[in-house]
């Protein structure tokens, strides 16, 4: 009798372990839903692809993880399940998640001055790491890709004047505001973080750190992260992962930094990523910035950026339609890679259709 009572907690433990799916070498799968909601989603994400004019929505990959299981996956163009796709600015959020591991090692504090780790910023002693995570360095940066190439700081950083040392190029920009006061989206801010990480984790560990600290623990076998000529990771732009592997980062975030039994990233770090930047003002960008992740939160009095998605949705977003959406309340992770050149793709449209196709099945 008493032995039987002892077994009950063990049984419950076993049940809860069985109740939670995690990817091993491969993702566990679940039956793919069928019906009109899936068709509506595919109709939006995969219209006839126009490679001549490159107009319209051009999805390369769409992958949905529900409750830790792969429930939907489709590729187009020449992208496949094994393609490490360019993530562009999703890299910024990956960098923030990589920082989370260093935060768990207690190697820095958010209010530390950046200059402590990156001396080229000694003229900006008040600039903190938190300011950079909020894209609020106060540096006079021009983030514009194709439309104003002459004065685009990001084009000069990636391809011409900044390419040898992107952080040093950023640090040379004058200030337009004291740090921490004003949101201004800046790839330069992200690369200052990438440079500061070198001294935070130490120059010996830095070249392998993205792999040893983040990718390998998540079972990501093939990731590329390009550097500038100075050996600093291009934290703003140049990480490449397969859609299946990027979804692993999404699941880590959905489950508050826990990977199986291991708390890889402190919960409070994920909370920082998901905390709106208080100084953000409505209209400054298409979504609310958190700590280097994007949030579906309203800057009063306007609407949420993606009104048809749950309020707890957060995302990593990149140029030409790259997106990693995490919706903890619906236990969904969605990876969408694309090659959209005309900006017609809408996050809200995809999220609305994905919620209709997948979230209904989650309801208890």
């Amino acid at each position: 009798m008493s032995k039987g009572w002892l077994l009950i907690p063990l049984l419950l433990l076993a049940l809860s372990a069985h109740g939670e799916d995690w990817p091993g070498e491969q993702w566990p799968t679940a039956p793919r839903p069928t019906g009109p909601a899936i068709e509506t989603l595919e109709h939006y994400a995969f219209p006839a692809r126009d490679d001549a004019t490159r107009q319209g929505i051009r999805t390369d990959a769409l992958l949905v993880i529900q409750d830790g299981r792969l429930v939907y996956e489709r590729y187009a163009g020449s992208t496949g399940a094994d393609t490490p796709h360019l993530t562009w600015s999703i890299s910024k959020s990956l960098l923030a998640t990589l920082y989370g591991v260093a935060y768990g090692e207690q190697r820095f504090g958010l209010q530390d001055p950046v200059a402590r780790y990156y001396p080229a910023l000694s003229q900006h002693p008040d600039m903190t790491l938190a300011d950079l995570f909020h894209w609020a360095s106060g540096l006079d940066w021009q983030e514009d890709y194709e439309y104003a190439p002459l004065n685009s700081s990001v084009v000069a950083m990636l391809y011409t004047r900044g390419r040898r040392d992107m952080a040093a190029f950023t640090a040379q920009h004058p200030s337009f505001s004291p740090p921490g006061q004003v949101f201004r989206y800046s790839s330069g801010d992200s690369n200052l973080l990438a440079a500061a990480l070198k001294n935070i984790v130490g120059p010996a560990r830095y070249p392998d750190y993205p792999w040893t600290a983040l990718f390998e623990p998540l079972g990501i076998r093939r990731a590329t992260w390009e550097t500038d000529a100075n050996g600093t990771f291009v934290g703003s732009s140049y990480a490449y992962l397969t859609a299946r592997d990027l979804a692993r980062v999404g699941l880590l975030m959905q489950r508050d930094g826990r990977w199986g039994e291991r708390q890889l990233i402190p919960k409070e770090w994920v909370a920082f990523n998901r905390e709106p930047f208080a100084r953000f003002q409505a209209g400054q960008d298409e979504a609310m910035p958190g700590g280097h992740w994007w949030l579906n939160r309203a800057a009063n009095p306007t609407q949420r950026p993606w009104p048809d998605a749950p309020a707890d949705t957060f995302a990593a977003l990149g140029h030409w339609g790259q997106a990693l959406y995490v919706i903890p309340s619906a236990r969904l992770v969605i990876v969408r890679y694309g090659d959209d050149r005309d900006g017609s793709y809408r996050h809200n449209e995809l999220l609305k259709r994905a919620m209709a196709a997948f979230a209904a099945a989650v309801q208890p």
Partner: protein
């Protein structure tokens, strides 16, 4: 009189243009490098990191500004592109670190 006003206006515009060129001299000097550097770098990554077919990658990096020369060495995994009178090269350096523009 009319001619004098016209001449003064043209002179003023010319001085303004010179002032603008002086103010933007650093950006203007770097500007012609953009198209060849962009094409070399993004083609290299398309081809050797994302492992896409050559033909796809040529389309992928195409911009409205034309390039005048394109040379790919598949053995060295190195791409040299010319355009607007400038030339830039990118090279694949390894599986983890992908491609990089040569200094």
């Amino acid at each position: 009189m009319k001619r004098k006003v016209f001449f003064t206006l043209v002179l003023a515009l010319f001085v303004a243009l010179l002032a603008w060129v002086w103010r933007e001299r650093v950006a203007l000097r770097a500007f012609p490098d953009i198209i060849s550097a962009y094409t070399a770098k993004e083609y290299c990554s398309c081809r050797y990191v994302m492992q896409q077919p050559a033909e796809y990658c040529r389309g992928y990096v195409k911009q409205s500004v034309p390039i005048s020369d394109f040379f790919e060495s598949a053995e060295a995994k190195r791409i040299t592109v010319s355009g607007l009178g400038r030339s830039n090269s990118a090279r694949w350096v390894g599986e983890r670190l992908g491609c990089r523009l040569e200094p």
